[in-house]
Symmetry: C3
Subunit: 273 residues, 3 copies
């Protein structure tokens, strides 16, 4: 099932508009190409309307946001919404600064993304809302573990239901929910955290997956999470003595490039709750 | 002959000012170093005049343009023109948005670059012009093939003659013309399209080539195209089982780093029409 | 001794706020992760106050500066100063443009960084000052060599004493001084100059080192220089036939990732004058 999601990306080659941070943008572009999508980047407010119009999906990542790029996010978001495009929000650093929190919350409220993907801290910030916006109970733990799994699954479902979108919380255990079902995913390796931007890369790839599978957003988002994690496992298996995080970065992208639906189906480790 | 162009880059180490997109800028810098040039990046309008002044060539790439960087392109372009520097325009995404089209056309008109390098779609957009500007007949195919080669060569020559610069159209078959002669180049591999920014990398490297060979712009531009394509072939020959587009990116830059004039002369596949 | 500095980074995992150029930012982030630190990037004036507040150190790199990011540098610098954070200035291109020189000088004067790290040309520009600011005698050579070593050590000490910070001049021979002592370091390889941003990478890593060792700024800065140079040596030893500057970049970061205090102590090549 998840393998079909990947195959659909490779067959339809979705063009994804990325408004994303300059730290990890090159890797995001190469991961999008590796999985079968096609990336285009633009953040300039006067440019984004046209660029979003020719794309199939929109990936909004608020790392290294600027006042100008925030305008671009809202213009592109409104246009993508109008066209029925798949939209993903990656609320990088929400909770770490007022500007990031406010920007992420306003994109949730106004653009209403198809999927939001972040770490538990960022998603909790969104769930709590900001200013007068009050969200679901975000008084949950700071990491998803086997001990608190049921509680975190309930939180993820509740926030997804309230926000009206698919919510993906990634970490050692990943949770992906549409409010009713929740994928609990255990692919990946801890060393992936020593590479900058694996989260950003996943968000870019996930946008391609949800764009290519418009009728299966939940499964597509879960498939992207499994693809990234499995690539992390395959990439690690090819590491040699003396290799470190820079080579690991290359090996993960390479593993995505070489992955097919059967490999994904065979390697995906998940349960649905 | 083409090998001499590369050797001249290595001997003169031209300093190239790049106003380029943040997606591929790191690879552009490393490719410039790999071929023997030296890169400096600056897009801030208040900074570019001074930076261009100390350089030998200017590479203007409009991917991820902003209103501020467009100002920088024009200021740097005017200064480079004044100093007689080699100037290259890479009209990334011309045709995909009004802002990109207008920016590329205005740089063509006002800066009058030494070389313009893009894919067929971008070059057709420039040939057509925008607004009241009317260009040469751009009613040609969307890809250069053996079937339409004569027609595309004629189009490239006509646009080069009208624009008064060298025009490089890159794709499966590359065409480089100064209006009179046209290099038809068949180096490279299709897998290069799965790496982000091979076009941007080529533009950066080509700026070094035309800067180091001011009396042979056409041959220098063709040599840069052959160098990139041949590096794609050499890099591919070093790929191992499990490698993908991320490793391929490294191998191509490595191959440029190790290339010398003799290797280029031996591996370049071209004819002149 | 120097190994302890590295071990302290790995144990405390300092969060470093980077306002840095978009050319090399991805490598800076991966190097910070490789050495045991944690990077966050933000340049937007409305964002930097909050981001700096949650960090332990601040890395200001003026490559690809913009008028907006310069505002961000001053806001973040003032806040970091207020909090007693370690602050590093990398004056990329000071001397190459008036805007870069003025920005670097004003950050020296107003932010008063803990460490300034640059090449000899950039540091000479700072020592000379700009406008009415008159610095120490910068009438010294353009490279540190065995022949002019005593003179360059004296210059470095004098500028460090006058500026009230640690000064690190990197090149074939590196000098790091607090005004009284001067480390003369001979790690590294000339091929590192063929990779874009090894200086920026060092500045990011050095910020982690001085943040993790607040009572030993001089030793921490010297340890970072030795770590980078030794990684360049180890990375080079792993190069294979056909490899070039792109692979070398990966191998250097990998070597930092795998380095421990004992390796650093065993491989560091320095004397203190």
């Amino acid at each position: 099932m998840l393998g079909t999601m990947l195959n659909n990306v490779r067959q339809s080659c979705p063009l994804v508009h990325n408004i994303t941070n300059y730290v990890t943008v090159n890797d995001v572009a190469n991961v999008l190409l590796a999985c079968g999508g096609s990336p285009i980047m633009s953040a300039e407010p006067e440019d984004v309307y046209d660029i979003t119009t020719i794309c199939g999906g929109l990936n909004i990542n608020i790392g290294t946001l600027t006042k100008e790029s925030i305008k671009g996010m809202h213009i592109a978001g409104a246009r993508a919404k109008e066209l029925g495009h798949a939209i993903l929000l990656d609320p990088v650093g929400a909770g770490a600064s007022a500007l990031r929190t406010d920007t992420a919350v306003s994109i949730m409220d106004e653009v209403k993304p198809t999927v939001v993907r972040g770490n538990i801290s960022e998603i909790k910030t969104l769930a709590l809302g900001s200013g007068t916006t009050k969200g679901v109970d975000a008084d949950v733990a700071d990491a998803v573990t086997d001990e608190n799994l049921e509680e975190m699954v309930a939180f993820t479902k509740a926030f997804a239901a309230k926000a009206g979108c698919v919510v993906a919380i990634t970490g050692a255990i990943d949770l992906v929910s549409d409010g009713e079902k929740c994928y609990v995913i255990r692919n990946g390796r801890p060393e992936m955290g020593k590479i900058t931007g694996t989260g950003c890369q996943l968000s870019g790839m996930m946008t391609a997956f949800i764009t290519a599978n418009p009728d299966n957003t939940l499964e597509a988002a879960a498939a992207a999470v499994c693809t990234m994690g499995l690539a992390g496992e395959i990439g690690w298996s090819r590491m040699q003595d003396g290799d470190g995080n820079s080579t690991y970065r290359n090996r993960i992208i390479d593993a995505i490039y070489n992955m097919d639906g059967d490999t994904l189906n065979g390697g995906a480790k998940y349960e649905v709750k």
